[in-house]
């Protein structure tokens, strides 16, 4: 569903992404882990069409896309951002936030679409005429997911969707994302610094370090610790070390 080949992104004299290649099958979830500055979010933003200046090949469903995207692209690919406090317009009601995309794309039955999107993310219908500040962090992230779903996309790009949330709320959102993927056959690209979250949701994982994808593995191999790059080993060691405290 997603094919990336030799992607390079340069900011001034610094190369942030140095020739990254990977592909994600239809209905799969691919996780990208790495630390800040490793280039993981940059990849996601290139795929979402948020940067113009990159080289390499990016294709969705076999169709190559350039820096400028057609309107139809944004019905196929949607993005959910990290911070549910920053990604929703504070002066717009949930109704207004959710109707933006159907209006832009001239979709019919906006009313029905909004209600179905609210139901899909298990938000009460009463939330429709609230403002973002009247909702909790978890509810806001549900709104952000509903906004992405309303386009009826095939691909969701998820940028640290749970790192601003409490662990109890994180569990609810991760379960929701897993359900939606199964029900709708969505393809996910998940970027996170949390190895356990990525291993939970994704079947395949790419590890970014200094702008390069230094290791490409699957979740089972990662869990067993059969990873080769020192950076992956270090990330895994830290993650396991903390887990053992709680058990």
């Amino acid at each position: 569903m997603i094919d990336v080949e030799n992607l390079r992104v340069r900011f001034g004299s610094r190369e942030a992404v140095k020739g990254v290649s990977f592909s994600v099958g239809q209905g799969d979830c691919f996780g990208v882990v790495g630390e800040s500055g490793s280039g993981k979010s940059t990849i996601l933003r290139v795929l979402a069409g948020l940067y113009d200046d990159w080289s390499g090949k990016v294709a969705f469903g076999g169709e190559a896309v350039g820096p400028r995207r057609q309107r139809a692209f944004f019905r196929k690919v949607q993005m959910v951002f990290q911070d549910p406090y920053g990604s929703l317009h504070p002066r717009q009601t949930i109704d207004r936030i959710l109707s933006e995309l159907p209006l832009v794309h001239g979709m019919d039955d906006i009313d029905g679409r909004i209600l179905r999107a609210l139901d899909a993310v298990a938000l009460p219908r009463a939330a429709r005429f609230r403002f973002p500040h009247q909702l909790s962090g978890g509810q806001r992230q549900r709104v952000a997911i509903a906004r992405a779903l309303i386009a009826e996309p095939e691909v969701l790009l998820l940028d640290e969707p749970t790192s601003a949330l409490d662990v109890s709320v994180q569990a609810e959102i991760l379960n929701l994302l897993a359900d939606l993927r199964r029900e709708r056959g969505l393809t996910y690209l998940l970027v996170s610094h949390n190895l356990a979250v990525v291993a939970h949701l994704c079947s395949h994982v790419g590890v970014m370090y200094g702008g390069e994808m230094v290791e490409l593995t699957d979740a089972a191999t990662l869990r067993e610790g059969r990873v080769s790059h020192p950076h992956t080993q270090e990330l895994r060691r830290l993650s396991v070390e903390l887990e053992e405290t709680g058990n």
Binding site: S168, A171, T245
Partner: protein, 276 residues
């Protein structure tokens, strides 16, 4: 006893009367590492801020006892409080990006704090600042002292914050989510640094975080807060035998790398947790 809190209550005025955000919290802290864990809104940060009397003016604070090293915080004058804040108890905040003055160099920031509490000349202060930067294990302290906050990484920024807090040789450190803005590898380094400094200098540490496994890894004791109350208090080593359903629930809903789960268990909140 460095800090002594008994039956602390903090409430805020709302259009429909006072809302009680902290409801009867008690704790004692000596030369040890105590962690307070809870979700957002559980009152963990308010509790720590009350100890330094750093709450917004509309907050109503009541307590049977609220003392720092014998000083009654509720009746202390503003002058007495200024002698405590920073000097005897340091406060490390979450995000170095917002907590460092962007128009001063790192050296000037650390030197300013040192001079404020210890006096001395500018030259002495700058030498002390370099020395402090060395203590928080910054490799090239002379270069870092000349740079500005936007030129250094988040982990480095947090080291600088710690250096500033150490300048007056405090007896207690309060760290409010000191590493939540940092990467996993940097997070471990910073916590290890805090732990080392606290043990070396014989300080008391109050570590506030939402991350239960992380806190119990670095503290001696852990207090779990829910809806403004302490629901469970236990030795960090006994975390695995925690028995309160909320503590258990928090541990169970964390995805695990070693144990794959089909679905994550979700916290089912029992109204009884808030009102025993």
């Amino acid at each position: 006893m460095l800090a002594e809190i008994d039956n602390l209550r903090i409430s805020f005025p709302t259009p429909s009367g006072f809302y009680e955000a902290v409801r009867g919290v008690s704790l004692k802290l000596g030369q040890e590492k105590l962690g307070i864990v809870g979700e957002s809104g559980s009152g963990k940060s308010l509790t720590a801020r009350a100890l330094m009397r750093l709450l917004p003016s509309q907050a109503r604070i009541e307590a049977d006892t609220l003392r720092f090293d014998g000083i009654d915080i509720l009746s202390a004058s503003e002058q007495q409080m200024r002698a405590v804040r920073g000097k005897r108890a340091g406060f490390i905040l979450q995000d170095p990006k917002y907590s460092l003055n962007p128009v001063k160099s790192i050296g000037a920031l650390v030197a300013e704090v040192w001079r404020l509490h210890k006096g001395g000349s500018r030259r002495e202060a700058m030498e002390a600042a370099i020395n402090l930067l060395e203590q928080v294990k910054i490799r090239d302290p002379h270069r870092v002292a000349k740079s500005y906050p936007h030129e250094i990484s988040g982990g480095m920024g947090q080291r600088v914050m710690i250096a500033m807090m150490l300048a007056p040789d405090p007896e207690m450190l309060i760290a409010d989510e000191p590493t939540s803005a940092l990467d996993a590898t940097v997070q471990a380094e910073i916590l290890r640094l805090i732990e080392e400094l606290v043990s070396e200098r014989g300080m008391g540490l109050l570590l506030i975080s939402h991350d239960l496994p992380l806190v119990s890894h670095f503290c001696d004791r852990v207090m779990v807060m829910y809806a403004g109350r302490v629901v469970e208090e236990l030795a960090a080593s006994e975390l695995s035998s925690a028995h309160h359903p909320y503590t258990r629930g928090l541990l169970d809903c964390i995805p695990s790398l070693s144990r794959p789960q089909e679905r994550l268990s979700v916290l089912n909140r029992d109204p009884a947790w808030a009102n025993p």
